[in-house]
């Protein structure tokens, strides 16, 4: 069971990506809990999840969030903007799983 959360300004557009990722996970038989939060909920959400993917529109938060993630040994990265725009749930899920495999 992997636990992934996505984070953007208000958690609105990432929630659409999340539903695509859940579909992809179900198809591939990956047991995953995936959710979307707004950036002010990052601190609260981080401890309960294994890794975090940021929407490209808040890539300016990466350094700050990465440091916070590193303290808990949780990887944080930014979603490729094209995958994000096209809502490619399968590719983003793969990216998240690769991030966790490190």
């Amino acid at each position: 069971m992997v636990k992934i959360f996505l984070c953007c300004a208000a958690g609105m557009s990432t929630s659409m990506v999340v539903s695509k990722m859940r579909q992809a996970a179900a198809q591939q038989g990956v047991e995953a809990e995936i959710t979307a939060v707004s950036m002010e909920d990052f601190d609260r959400t981080l401890p309960d999840y294994d890794c975090c993917l940021l929407g490209p529109q808040i890539k300016y938060k990466l350094d700050e969030f990465k440091t916070k993630g590193a303290a808990l040994n949780k990887p944080v990265s930014v979603i490729n903007s094209m995958d994000y725009g096209m809502m490619r749930g399968d590719k983003i899920l793969k990216e998240a799983l690769a991030l966790l495999a490190h």
């Binding site: 601190d43 929407g55 994000y84 096209m86 809502m87």
Partner: protein
């Protein structure tokens, strides 16, 4: 290197990092999150305003409208109470919200500090008189004071803690009790600093501290409500989005106090039966300038849906439903518009043209000014009407702007579509693999 390329590099390497640093600054974030915490009360409170001020003129022929107008007039006091106690005293909630979030960012005890922030605010904004708390500084006019006092409170607590000033209780004392003792000295120091300052200003200038603060901010507030300021904010927001970062969250965070001061003034004028003073309020931004999302892309999505390019068609299909709720990340990142030279001009100028037209339409009295706080995800025509107290003209203006934006985007869309079609034809010859479509222009 061409000038436009140099310009785009300037955006990416200079403007974007500065904006990102401002938006990530601790106090700016605490203010933003404090406003977010108070938002539900303000949205519900201002929603109730419409019941006291029905969207009909006094000479209406509709029986129902006449009845509503009569009831609203007769029971205005009772109808307005929930509004008065939510939106009407919003600065109280905001002061507590900002103090809470700032304290949390410093890893201090957030809840007691947020109450302390509220106390500090009430101490100077609403000194008890004849058994009542005057409310005149607790609404929009108290916003800047709420921000300053909340930040002052938290910084003071932090300073006292850093210098180890406080009452120390032995470890055996239960934690809850120790925490409540932690607040004794900060509460005392706040009273001993802010209260004499308030008395002094009252004595010297005959006004309370919040009135003095408002007087200082007045030129800035007035300046924020002019067309050049609106256009500047719009330009900055869209340049940031063009560089791929959330311009609306950054610019909107800075504008929020101004929106609320202006909104408070409009609501007070409405209640007093005066003409409404202000134009630039959040609903103006959300539904006229960034209708369908930043870039006013609702018209563009309609073009995408019928595009000959398979890529743009699929972006349009993904983007149309969220666009109805002013969410357009699929459009911005999927097209992509980010760093796409072809789309720069319409993306930046369509919203600015919208702003200009809406501004003059309001000044000419063709559409209504904003009196309510509306969630920015309301579909644009509905949100615009709702924000003005259900003025249908505002909704119609949005529909016209969507059509205009479509025309503004059209020539640039055609150019971009052609580029993509050429690329798609090439790819068809090579491999059926998708993915490389993105990097044009």
């Amino acid at each position: 290197m061409s000038t436009s390329q140099a310009f785009f590099e300037f955006i990416e390497n200079t403007i974007t990092p500065i904006a990102a640093r401002v938006a990530s600054q601790r106090h700016v974030m605490a203010v933003r999150d404090g406003f977010i915490a108070a938002m539900p009360f303000m949205i519900v409170g201002s929603f109730l305003l419409v019941f006291a001020f029905p969207p009909f003129s006094a000479d209406t022929q509709l029986g129902f409208a006449q009845w509503w107008l009569r009831i609203a007039k007769e029971y205005q006091g009772q109808i307005l109470t929930p509004f008065n106690m939510s939106m009407g005293i919003m600065a109280c909630y905001i002061s507590a919200g900002i103090a809470y979030n700032l304290a949390q960012s410093y890893k201090l005890e957030a809840f007691p500090i947020s109450m302390l922030g509220l106390m500090a605010f009430l101490l100077i904004a609403a000194p008890l008189k004849d058994g009542m708390l005057p409310a005149s500084n607790l609404g929009g006019t108290g916003i800047f004071t709420a921000i300053i006092v909340a930040i002052f409170t938290v910084e003071l607590v932090r300073l006292l803690k850093a210098y180890n000033i406080g009452i120390k209780l032995p470890e055996q004392v239960p934690e809850k009790i120790r925490h409540s003792f932690n607040m004794l000295i900060p509460a005392l120091v706040i009273i001993l600093t802010l209260y004499p300052l308030n008395l002094f200003i009252q004595h010297q200038f005959g006004m309370l501290l919040p009135e003095a603060i408002m007087a200082i901010f007045k030129p800035l507030v007035s300046a924020s409500d002019t067309l050049p300021a609106i256009l500047l904010a719009t330009l900055l927001c869209h340049i940031l989005w063009f560089a791929g970062i959330h311009g609306a969250a950054i610019v909107g965070g800075i504008l929020q106090p101004f929106y609320l001061v202006n909104l408070g003034a409009n609501q007070a004028a409405l209640a007093a039966g005066h003409p409404l003073p202000h134009v630039f309020i959040e609903a103006f931004w959300s539904f006229f300038i960034t209708l369908g999302g930043s870039g006013a892309t609702l018209g563009l999505v309609l073009l995408y849906m019928r595009s000959k390019s398979a890529h743009l068609r699929s972006v349009g299909g993904l983007g149309i439903v969220p666009a109805l709720f002013n969410i357009n990340e699929p459009i911005i990142f999927g097209s992509p518009i980010v760093m796409n030279a072809t789309m720069f001009i319409p993306f930046v100028f369509a919203p600015m043209i919208n702003a200009t037209i809406a501004y003059f339409a309001i000044q000419a009295g063709l559409v209504g000014k904003v009196i309510a706080l509306v969630p920015w995800t309301a579909p644009a025509p509905i949100g615009a009407a709702w924000g003005a107290g259900w003025v249908m003209g505002n909704g119609i203006l949005v529909l016209l702007l969507i059509a205009l934006d479509l025309l503004i985007y059209l020539p640039f869309f055609k150019i971009y579509e052609k580029q993509l079609l050429e690329q798609e034809a090439l790819e068809e010859q090579d491999t059926p693999e998708h993915g490389g479509v993105a990097q044009t222009a």
